[in-house]
């Protein structure tokens, strides 16, 4: 009996060991003869240690996407990433062992980016576990090169467009690449050339309009649409929102009034008109429009927001438009409605006017959040840097995190890491990922 029991236990133990080792068996490797090799070297960022790398003359965003695709092709998991930094971490897990793969995308020159890869083998069963791991560096870099092989450089695209000037796809690719390289004027010119050949391409017309709007060229954006299309509600609403952001309220009202007359039951149009009336100072009409939405369509998407604006109007009537508290309410609502440029103005007024406390910090945090979205990093530094000690004391981790991101953009990684640490200490959970990523930039 005992013998049988012992035999059963032994079989189970062997089975367990076999399962563990089978599960931890290395992934099938490509034929090593075909595998392109990349030289190992010490990264200029000392903490990265020994890495393998390769360079690309492509936009950073495209290189980053190439890395993501390469990870997917090799069935490597992506666990952490910081797109703005060009940092990506993931790997392959085998239960008792794993390979952590970290990649970095760093600027190497004008319109040139370097990808560095570090492979870290991890095992909790000593040598047995370690034997089951592999180095993904060469395979990953080769796969990234493979994925990006057919992506033309800017010069190559320009040459291809010159050969095939009527190709909508090539011109669009070129315009999009120019945007990624911050060559917005060139991109607008490219879109305009495309639209001369393909005037019916609404997608490209709108991409061009968006670019023009980003640079306050509103009149040019409007001329992209024929008179007939300007009667289209969606187009008009989009442009009216842009007018509001640019504080061109009169123009917004000129667009919205006729639209509201022709679509009296459309709650979205009534909401947008109500908001434009608010900013033009016509509070009575704004109240009536918002009240109508809340009464007639309480379940509608915009009824909730209309209710918020009713409260804002009440605050204006009691405390005044310029009161910091009112400015805060307006800014927060605009932020929720994704009108961030306008929201920033009101939230900044609230930040400057409110006494020290939770409401002030909330306003400030939203301002810095919008600045991160708008990549206005210098503004963040100017606003937050003098107040670091105060923010640490007040446990305003999110604002410190935004400051850390601003330092990253300035490539001052020492300051960025210190600030990220402070943000983490102040209770910002997202700061932990940034801090752990930043240790490799020093």
């Amino acid at each position: 009996m005992k013998g049988n029991k012992l035999k059963k236990i032994s079989v189970l133990v062997l089975l367990a060991a076999w399962t563990v080792l089978a599960g931890a068996s290395p992934a099938p490797e490509k034929n090593k003869k075909d595998q392109k090799k990349f030289t190992e070297y010490k990264s200029q960022h000392k903490k990265r240690g020994d890495v393998h790398g390769t360079s690309f003359d492509l936009p950073q965003a495209m290189v980053y996407e190439g890395i993501i695709q390469a990870f997917a092709n090799l069935e490597l998991t992506v666990n952490k990433e910081y797109r703005a930094l060009g940092y990506l971490e993931g790997g392959h897990s085998r239960g008792i062992s794993a390979e952590r793969v970290i990649t970095w995308v760093d600027p190497e020159g004008p319109r040139r980016w370097r990808v560095e890869v570090r492979n870290i083998r991890a095992s909790r069963m000593g040598l047995i576990g370690a034997l089951t791991t592999k180095d993904w560096s060469h395979e990953l870099l080769a796969e990234i090169e493979n994925v990006l092989a057919d992506k033309p450089t800017l010069e190559q695209l320009q040459a291809r467009v010159a050969e095939k000037p009527d190709s909508i796809d090539l011109r669009r690719q070129l315009a999009e690449m120019e945007v990624q390289f911050d060559m917005d004027d060139e991109a607008v010119a490219e879109y305009q050339a495309l639209l001369q050949r393909h005037p019916d391409s609404l997608r490209d017309r709108l991409s061009c309009a968006e670019l023009l709007l980003q640079h306050d060229r509103l009149a040019e954006a409007e001329t992209l649409f024929a008179a007939a299309e300007m009667k289209d509600p969606a187009t008009v609403l989009r442009l009216s929102r842009v007018c509001l952001q640019r504080e061109n309220t009169d123009h917004a009202l000129n667009l919205l009034n006729p639209l509201a007359e022709s679509h009296p039951q459309d709650m979205r149009i009534r909401f947008e008109l109500g908001r434009a009336c608010f900013f033009s100072g016509d509070l009575e009409r704004a109240k009536s429009l918002f009240g109508g939405i809340v009464t007639e369509a309480p379940q509608h998407a915009f009824a909730q927001y209309a209710g918020h604006w009713q409260k804002i109007i009440a605050a204006v009537e009691s405390a005044g438009l310029d009161a910091p508290g009112t400015q805060r309410l307006i800014g927060e609502e605009l932020h929720e409605e994704a009108l961030n440029s306008l929201a920033r103005k009101h939230l900044t007024a609230a930040w400057n006017g409110l006494p020290t406390g939770a409401e002030k910090y909330k306003s400030g945090c939203l301002v810095t959040e919008i600045c991160v979205d708008q990549e206005a990093y210098d503004d963040i530094v100017a606003m937050v840097q003098p107040l670091v000690a105060e923010l640490k004391k007040a446990k305003q981790g999110d604002m410190l995190l935004h400051l850390a991101l601003a330092y990253c953009h300035q490539r001052d990684f020492v300051k960025a890491r210190e600030t990220a640490k402070a943000a983490k200490k102040a209770g910002c959970k997202d700061a932990k990922i940034l801090e752990s990523a930043l240790k490799y930039y020093i």
């Binding site: 390979e99 909508i168 649409f225 289209d232 969606a234 915009f302």
Partner: protein, 198 residues
């Protein structure tokens, strides 16, 4: 909730890629007449996600659309790229579709970390293997292909994943935009929009 199912007459709209909204009673764009039908089901709750994916994608910051495309034409083949799908909120916030692999990665544990790593190798190996299989079956296998080509009278369904942006509470009043549908016969490029809820 039954999926809103939209067929449009052959009227060509002028509509805004970046600011398209649901406009009540407004005509849409078709390959030819009522040719391309699009149905959309929104998956944005824990219960729906657990039922479909055997895991809570919502807790991982994702939502999904179950999209069905039906080509009713008798002679037109059309192509749609997953990368040309995006969701537009009622406040014009654009949410592009992400690759299914990104959604899969979100559901996995951290490499060399997470539960049981190392301490109980057998447990981790088995659980991780089981987790991989589950999400390969529910997330990857059910995803809409990167490129969808619909021959005449063909239909396809699949899941498309999106990351919920910070600050967006719900996409129930949003619109799915198909930025470009290519008519393979004529090369014409068309556009469509579908509300995510009725």
């Amino acid at each position: 909730m039954s999926a809103p199912c939209v067929s449009f007459p052959g009227i060509r709209p002028a509509w805004l890629l970046l600011g398209v909204l649901l406009i009540f009673g407004w005509g849409g764009l078709c390959l030819a007449g009522e040719d391309l039908e699009i149905a959309v089901d929104l998956i944005d709750s824990k219960a729906q996600a657990e039922k479909l994916f055997k895991g809570d994608i919502v807790a991982r910051g994702l939502f999904a659309l179950n999209i069905t495309l039906r080509n009713h034409s008798s002679d037109i083949t059309c192509t749609v790229q997953r990368s040309n799908l995006l969701v537009l909120t009622e406040f014009d916030v654009q949410i592009p579709a992400i690759e299914a692999r990104r959604a899969y990665d979100r559901m996995m544990w951290n490499v060399a970390g997470g539960p049981y790593f190392g301490e109980a190798g057998l447990v981790r190996t088995i659980s991780e293997s089981s987790r991989k299989k589950k999400y390969k079956k529910t997330v990857l296998a059910e995803a809409l292909p990167e490129t969808v080509t619909l021959a005449p009278h063909e239909e396809i369904s699949g899941i498309v994943f999106f990351e919920m942006p910070a600050g967006v509470k719900s996409v129930r009043f949003s619109t799915l935009l198909l930025q470009e549908i290519v008519n393979e016969q004529t090369g014409e490029r068309l556009y469509r929009q579908v509300p995510l809820s009725q």
